[in-house]
Amino acid sequence: MEKTIKMTKGTVAGIIANLVFVEVDGPVQQNEICYIDLEGTKLMAEVIKIVGTQAYVQVFESTRGLKVNHTVEFTGHMLEVTLGPGILSKNYDGLQNDLDKMDGVFLKRGEHTNPLEDDKKWEFKPIAKAGDVLEAGGWLGEVKENWMPHKIMVPFKFEGKYTVKSVASAGEYTILDNIAVVTDEKGKDINLTMTQKWPVKLAIKAYTEKPRPFKLLETGVRVIDTLNPIAEGGTGFIPGPFGTGKTVLQHALSKQAEADMIIVAACGERANEVVEIFTEFPELDDPRTGRKLMERTTIIANTSNMPVAAREASVYTAMTLGEYYRAMGLKVLLLADSTSRWAQALREMSNRMEELPGQDAFPMDLPAIISNFYSRAGFTYLSNGETGSITFIGTVSPAGGNLKEPVTESTKKAARCFYALSQQRADSKRYPAIDALESYSKYAEYPELIEYFRANIDPDWPEKIGLARDILIRSREVAEQINILGDDGVPVEYHDRFWKGEVIDFVILQQDAFDKTDASTPLERQKYMLNWVLDIYHTKFSFESFEEVGTFFKRVINQMKQMNYSEYNSDKFKQNEKELNTLIEERKIA
């Protein structure tokens, strides 16, 4: 891999915004990284097209002041990230610069900071021993990163089999110290450290098998877990007009989801939203470990005012970091907000290159790029039998709230879960504004997952979910009829049917993301409450008039919301439940 040949050089021949034409004096490769020397400031750029001796490069920073004949140095490699202990809790930009290490209030052009700490000592424990035969991604040892076992692996770039010659004994080492020597198939010894590099545009394939997802990933959000579950290693996307709560939902997922590591890629969105994570996550407790949330979180921030070209890089950087941790046998949840901004960055560049546009001026290969990216998520078996996963959820910001636009449509083909945020629900403050019926989870139909539900939640779980959906559909149909015919234009039982759907809406679908208890509901509790609403559905009540129906069910809903607000199985919870039973007895037909 590491060839020491003369690096290609070039000179700037033309400039249109952040597209620069470079006249080169030697070989260049597609997606190769180069640095343009703007009077001492090194601007990072990526080759995106080559015509004859001209390379078209997209510059990751502002090209203001750049002149023809400025010199360019090519690096011989694609955009790479540095992998090693120290990634957790970091705030990176899209190119993996550590934002905290940068000086000054403003981002400076050409400033590149070390993503890791070269002098920090890590407590190393060997896993492999001399004589072991490993492949790329094989575990040599581990260090404790925050509370997580961070595996030190045979570099992903290595091909073939490697015999371990020696591994450092337990002790403190920096990421640059030699921690192992391995011998390749030709008998050459190679010294290894705790760090390695990997090009972000390529998937890390250090696994033996990528099965269909078969386990549930708990998120604590009822409308997702109960009605539209996402699998561990699955993919989902959340499209929604502005103001429907995409970001609140993503933040909720990042706080509660049952994952070892969370990577948040803030891609072309508001800076203040990232600041919210910076500010809150170091304070918030991770309900699973009792540690601070920030300890399991890495943020890739490329906010909307940061260089556009780096937006595309930021999602790839995030995915690559995820793949690195997946190869350690960890459960990674990757959230990207929003993939539309990334698509727009592609559009800007395609436009400058004067490529023939596809729909809405997006590049023709947009669907391919999106599905290729989503395919990097997944559940994997590692060569040592362990498992690791990346679950990916991206938001999409459809222009004008129109779900027929190219980014939403392309994503719909790639992602297996679809969480539709509805403007109507947001307007009536029914949060989270996920439309449970419009949304779907293909995983819910996987036989593997259906088996998992029966074995781990309830033998009748899939049937119960189906029934809950039916109740909601019927309730919605009846609501339309009541709207047309008027309250007294329909039989009283129609009101009963309508309100039984509303009970599910208010008690299961709606959830208060700002309430400490209600914000996250464990599966056991979701099951308990679902059984409750289904019991109410099966119960027959007697009503004289339609007014009575509404009044009664409003009280039922209120009582059940109080249950949602109280700690599970606490005295308060039981008290509320008792009152609910009394209330139901009032009108129940025996």
Binding site: R64, K67, V105, K108, T303, N305, G400
Partner: protein, 440 residues
């Protein structure tokens, strides 16, 4: 417009279009400024020796032997305390008849703030308008536009907000302002005796439209000077951002770019974000808050300009004429301040969030009752009361001519609740009801 003795003068244009001209030149920096036939221009494209310049005021009457002088620098603004109280055009040149200011030259459209150096916005900006303070509280470091139809009095409301807000500096960026509106702002500021803390960058409808592109960057460069260097609270008013975006589409069209939705350039989102994201709260107290205007056509918020804006800004404010009371109100349903949670009930009284939600819910009930009424269904007693409440609420709180303190707004709300409803119908936490429900 400075020229230096040793500068090279080019006199041969190879191409002239409606907005650009091209010539052969070397050693030119990207985005460098130039003077073409006495008009300011900026480098937008360099291919080898061919340099294309965008001429802000248009190319009418430019001959092929026009004199071209490159200034060797990107667009700059001279900053200093002296900016206060002054009026400038889109290039940062005075238009108030007073001499140019002396100060440090700063490049406009500079780099963005490192997100980790920002602070979470947390300071409430009272405006006295209950439709804003009570339901959509503004916070320092926020960016929020008025989404308004052209016939609505958004400039008046904005001037009012600006004068009442407790800001150290108010910077007006006027794009395509009519001369009348420009004079209106000037008068209001003068009459309020606030001129010494106001700085204006104005492009009126009399000026060439493409010049507008410079206005937000000028205004925000001045804002950054006061917020970063002087740690001041700066309020930036940008009106009207729709005309700014229109200017962008003119330029992109003339440069033969492929338009995306609504014939806007594909980079519209990034272009708008670069401006709005200058809103920031710094840890040392300095802040930039942006209040903008985006005019809509026929209330259509799915058009590319309001749509992209909505994804960038932290909420939006809608004005609406309430025909029942004959006044303009801040629409409580469609307006949203995303940052209000950071201050209401924290920097204001603890009952604020609950009172706000209860009143809006009752107002929504009134809207339902109204629909019922229009469809010919009978109204219940509750419906009648919500309708009466809605009228009072609109008149005493939502109308833009209201100017009271937040505590007074809360008190007014409680009085309206008491007048029309029982505590159980209002649905506010018992402890607040005990404390604030008026005792008759």
């Amino acid at each position: 417009m400075e020229t230096k003795a040793f500068q090279k003068i080019y006199t041969k244009l190879t191409q002239v279009t409606k907005a650009t001209c091209s010539l052969k030149a070397s050693g030119i920096g990207y985005e460098e400024m130039a003077i073409v036939h006495g008009r300011l221009a900026q480098v937008v494209k360099i291919i080898g020796e061919d340099v294309t310049l965008q001429i802000f005021s248009g190319t009418e009457g430019i001959p092929t032997n026009a004199e071209v002088i490159f200034l060797g620098r990107p667009p700059v603004l001279k900053v200093g305390e002296e900016l206060s109280g002054r009026f400038f055009n889109a290039y940062g040149d005075p238009i108030d008849g007073r001499p140019p200011i002396e100060g440090e030259e700063r490049q406009i459209g500079g780099p963005s703030v490192n997100p980790v150096r920002r602070m979470q916005p947390s300071e409430f900006i009272p405006t006295g308008i209950a439709g804003i303070d009570l339901n959509n509280a503004l916070v320092t470091g926020q960016k929020i536009p008025f989404f308004a139809d052209p016939d609505q009095p958004y400039n008046q409301v904005m001037a009012m907000v600006a004068l009442r807000a407790d800001a150290d500096k108010i910077i007006l960026g006027g794009m395509g302002l009519t001369n009348d509106d420009y004079l209106y702002y000037k008068n209001v500021f003068e009459n309020a005796g606030a001129l010494d803390r106001i700085i204006s960058f104005v492009n009126t409808t009399e000026n060439p439209p493409v010049e507008r592109i410079l206005v937000p960057d000028m205004a925000l460069t001045a804002a950054e000077y006061f917020a970063v260097d002087k740690h001041q609270k700066v309020l930036v008013l940008l009106t009207d951002m729709t005309l700014y975006a229109d200017a962008l589409s003119i330029v992109s069209n003339r440069m033969d770019q492929i338009p995306s939705k609504d014939s806007m350039p594909g980079s519209l989102y990034s272009d708008l974000a670069k401006i709005y994201e200058k809103a920031v709260q710094f840890p040392d107290g300095g802040s930039i808050t942006i209040i903008a205007v985006t005019t809509l056509s026929g209330g259509d918020i799915t058009h590319a300009i309001p749509d992209n804006t909505g994804y960038i800004t932290e909420g939006q404010l809608f004005l609406r004429k309430d025909t029942d009371i004959g006044k303009v109100i801040v629409d409580p349903f469609r307006s949203l301040s995303r940052l209000k949670q950071l201050v209401i009930g924290k920097k204001t009284r603890a009952d604020h969030p609950q009172v706000m939600n209860a009143a809006i819910r009752l107002y929504a009930d009134a809207a339902n009752a109204k629909t019922k009424q229009e469809n010919g269904f009978d109204l219940t007693d509750y419906d009648d009361r919500t309708l009466k409440f809605a009228k009072d609420y609109s008149d005493k709180l939502l109308a833009i001519d209201v100017n009271i303190e937040v505590d007074k707004m809360l008190e007014t709300s409680w009085n309206l609740f008491n007048e029309h409803f029982e505590p159980a119908e209002v649905g506010i936490k018992q402890e607040f009801v005990d404390q604030y429900w008026p005792k008759n």
